[in-house]
Amino acid sequence: MAQGHSPLAQFEIHKLVEISPIGGVDPSLTNSGLFMIIVATLVTGFLVVGMRQHAMIPGRWQSMAELSYEFIANMIRDNVGSEGRRYFPFIFTLFMFILFANLVGMVPYTFTVTSHIIVTFALAAVVFIGVTLIGFARHGLGFVKYFVPDGVPGYLLVLLVPIEILSYLTRPISLSVRLFANMMAGHTMLKVFGGFVVSLGFIGGWAPLAFIVALTGLELGIAFLQAYVFTILSCIYLNDAVHLHH
């Protein structure tokens, strides 16, 4: 743990299993990849084991599995309407993956997958490309009208349409930066205050320790909130593509 004293050491990527590059792509299993697999396994396990008994009167685990199902189902219905129902599997997977990745990251000595912008950006890019394709599939070229504001004189459109398109293009960036920044800032702060506990010793270390306890609670809240924010913004973007209005 010599290099572990840097608060940023927790975000380092290590190769766990070296695999020789295939066509210029390095498929080695890293700690990030390992934790993605762990997260996916945990989500699957949570839902499959939780629903194994599928009892009329749910037990604790089944209640939690059903609760998460209903939470996302309601979110889609409220934000996209009944047309959004067919996108439920994707949105649900997105939410559960981010939520579990955030929560697993709260366990000491684990790696937080969502604290890397490339991971959150990949998720946001899938949402962005998917939503754009849905928009074009549902409205054909009429989706272009989304970028043309109503009731604006023609000469202003020259200026406003590029701005609208740029504003649309910022979505995957703001979506991914929001999640990544929250996770990375939180985990860095925890490590920094953890360092204070050690350096202040037995006498002065209690104050930062108490702060870490409070911060851990806050981080748990943020882990949930950011998963929620990511998902609900995806729903809102989906609604824009399905119903074609701002």
Binding site: S174, A181, L225, I232
Partner: protein, 123 residues
């Protein structure tokens, strides 16, 4: 015995039909609910600041990035960078404006529903 059985079955059917009607009605009102009735994002001062800040900065970053890439491609270095920097700034400000409008709309709706303090007590 069979007669009694048939009678209860009839009664069951009638109540089932009634239940079916009620279910259908409930489902319809649920489906008719407009997407405007959004589940709103919880608002904390910190969260709001971060949301608006991210919107503004990404507008600039995306605008500048696209301008720079166009310049690299066409070899006209400062032209598109400058142009798209300002367009990106405008897009960022527009995003901030839209987000802020959404937030104030949500606050108004909360007040109308009689839980006006929900915006600052949450989180």
């Amino acid at each position: 015995m069979t007669l009694w059985y048939a009678m209860t079955e009839d009664k069951d059917r009638a109540s089932l039909r009634k239940l079916d009607r009620r279910l259908r009605k409930a489902q319809k009102t649920r489906q008719d609910r407009l997407p405007e009735d959004r589940t709103r994002l919880p608002n904390t001062s910190m969260g709001l600041a971060l949301r608006l800040g991210v919107e503004l900065v990404t507008g600039l970053a995306v605008g500048g990035g696209i301008g720079w890439l166009l310049d690299q491609w066409l070899g006209t270095l400062p032209l598109f960078l400058l142009l798209f920097f300002f367009l990106g700034a405008a897009a960022g400000i527009m995003n901030v404006f839209r987000t802020a409008k959404e937030i104030s709309l949500a606050a108004e709706l909360d007040e109308e529903n009689g839980n006006g303090d929900a915006t600052d007590s949450g989180q």
